[in-house]
């Protein structure tokens, strides 16, 4: 009978996982280096890293223009680091959410959180809400919108005193529709001819707002959440098998689900606030990882973070530089790139899996 690996003792599999982790760390590191070195403006790679070294304080100032310095230090490096954080964050949220609702088709946006963020964003962009916060206004408003959506979804899902996967999905989709409707209504009836375009661009997601200040909160959130979820990996495993199974293995299912949902909503709110709703990553990266290593969260969680980060770095490189091939300075919203890149790759992976399953007669 076909099997994944019959003669594979645990130590060997541990090694394989560790190797995978090591290899991915290497690829991530390399991606960061390349992501900062590449861009629509050609900068020699040694200059790029001399600028970084100088800014960190390792070497004295060198022979480059202020423009080049700003490009490397104020645009590229923050953007690539934000890609790491947001890519990893969205991926890990996707993994967790799919466990929470026991549905591989869930993504961070099915719970209505990003729709709430859109309402916040459109109010800030179109009506100057929270304008006193200056350039932070949109992010802050988006975050508040996300929290509002979360509170609504939680309350609705909890009407039966227990939050179940079904109640969560239904409440999320319902709230999502309402908020999307509000955003559309505001946009399409507005007298501001720029609003529709601006809101669309924001919704599709972009890392262009990356700056050193804005990196701290998402980074801390991602670290905290990853650590917490890794510690809860066993409970997530049990939960994803079934509510009853989790319960009899000692998990307080309702409390656990509520708590994890709250954290997931918070981190989604933070990510969406700084970069809009970048699609595909939360939905597909967990799938890809599970195809390769199965569903044990102790493997899926960290691998998803790495792959999500790497994926978003390269999606952003393409978003920034794709059109420079035809000498046009246009920058694409990164959400467009993630979908275009990810879709075909996922289909390929899915076909590969279908073939494998047919062989195993599942």
């Amino acid at each position: 009978m076909p099997s994944r690996d019959d003669s594979n003792p645990k130590s060997q599999r541990h090694l394989r996982f560790s190797t995978l982790l090591l290899v991915l760390s290497g690829i991530l590191f390399l991606s960061i280096i390349l992501g900062v070195s590449l861009g629509p403006v050609s900068i020699p790679i040694n200059i790029v890293w001399n600028v970084v070294a100088y800014k960190i304080g390792f070497i004295p100032a060198g022979n480059w223009s202020a423009g080049v310095e700003n490009i490397v230090w104020l645009i590229r490096l923050p953007r690539v680091l934000l890609a790491v954080v947001v890519g990893g964050g969205l991926a890990i949220v996707g993994v967790t959410l799919q466990a929470l609702v026991r549905n591989p088709l869930a993504d961070p946006y099915v719970l209505g959180i990003s729709s709430g963020a859109s309402v916040g964003a459109v109010l800030a962009i179109g009506f100057g809400v929270l304008a006193s916060y200056g350039t932070l206004a949109i992010s802050f408003a988006a975050f508040l919108g996300a929290i509002l959506a979360f509170v609504l979804v939680y309350t609705l899902a909890n009407l039966g005193k227990r939050i179940t996967p079904e109640s969560l999905i239904l409440a999320g989709i319902g709230v999502g529709y309402i908020f999307t409707g509000i955003t559309s209504y505001i946009t399409l009836t507005s007298n501001n001819r720029q609003l529709a375009g601006q809101v669309l661009a924001w919704t599709l997601g972009s890392l262009a707002r990356a700056n050193w200040f804005d990196l701290s909160l998402p980074t801390l959130t991602l670290l905290a959440i990853t650590v917490y979820l890794m510690l809860q990996a066993r409970n997530l495993n049990a939960l994803i098998v079934g509510d009853e199974t989790a319960s009899v293995l000692g998990v307080n299912v309702d409390v656990f689900r509520k708590w994890v949902f709250t954290l997931v909503a918070l981190i989604t709110g933070v990510m969406v606030a700084v970069s809009g709703s970048i699609g595909f990553i939360g939905l597909m990266i967990p799938h890809m990882i599970r195809f390769v290593v199965g569903s044990d969260h102790r493997k899926v969680l960290p691998l998803s973070v790495f792959v999500g980060s790497i994926f978003l770095i390269w999606a952003d490189v393409l978003a920034r530089g794709f059109h420079s091939a035809i000498d046009n300075p246009i920058e694409l919203p990164v959400g467009v790139v993630t979908s275009v890149l990810g879709g075909p790759f996922f289909i390929w992976l899915m076909l590969k899996n279908q073939i494998k399953r047919r062989a195993e007669n599942l």
Binding site: P40, A66, L74, I75, N191, N192, Q194, A208, P333
Partner: protein
Amino acid sequence: MKNRYLIALTTLVIISLLIGCTTPKGNESPSTSTSTYPVTVESCGEPVTFDAAPTRALSFDTNMTEIMLALGLENKMVGYWISGVPVGQEYQEQVKNIPLISTVTWPPPSLEEILNFNPDFAFGAWNYNFSEESGVTPEKLAQAGIKSYVLTESCIAVGIKPDESLESTYTDILNIGKIFGVETRAEELVNQMREKITTVQAQIGKVDTPLRGFYYGGGADTAFTAGKYAMATKLMNAVGAKNIFGDVEDDWIPAAGWEKIIELDPQFIMIDDTPWESADQRIKTLESLPQLASITAIKEKRYVVLPWTYILPGMEMDDGIEALAKALYPERFR
């Protein structure tokens, strides 16, 4: 003796007849059609034929309306629409008695609102008032028996490659003149504009190195700017300056990444002042982005603020060129 009177009388009659037949057309009021109909013009590459001058015309947005008014066609108009900027002072008297198609500045008037005026002609442009999404298109109007003329520069929206010069604006003015039988007036207007621009260019004189310019139409994550075929670029070319993106095969570039802009380091930034986003707001945005601090134009605060209508194809094009020239070469215009 009788013969002399007869000859004088006959001569007088003949001369009167000749005078009557050869009175120069320019003396007649513009409301009398002097075109030879039917007249055919090309609107976005499609021929449109007029059997007579339209009498119930609509014009959409400030620049199109100003062209109609400059040609003295207010008596042929039954309505007009502006997206926020009123027509210039010099046209206010003419436009006084023409109703607005819609008092809403955005979105543009709907098909229903347009049909309500029972027009026979519409002078508009793609992405000003015409768009596929809204359903208000020249085809749709044609189905209702309304002929349209579309601003040439906007035809890029339907795939017509635009030109890089100011000629298309002149063509539009001349075509409207042709449609309404006021060609002479149209030619006068075009010549006046050409003259003014030539004068300005003469005053500029020789430009050794073109100044590097950047058109900024707002945006923080990315910039709304102009490519080869946008009016903003044409203005810069006319005064001997150069748009840093002047070689990009596009008209307006809706989302340009900042990296290239920083690298190309513009020396001045052209900003249009619009009702939906003021030039002050735009300058504030530029100065709030730390990554742009190295750009010469921002360091030196060399912003050229122009009214929105100056960067549109229309009657204010020459004013735009003059304003830009004076801003860039103040010492040559004392």
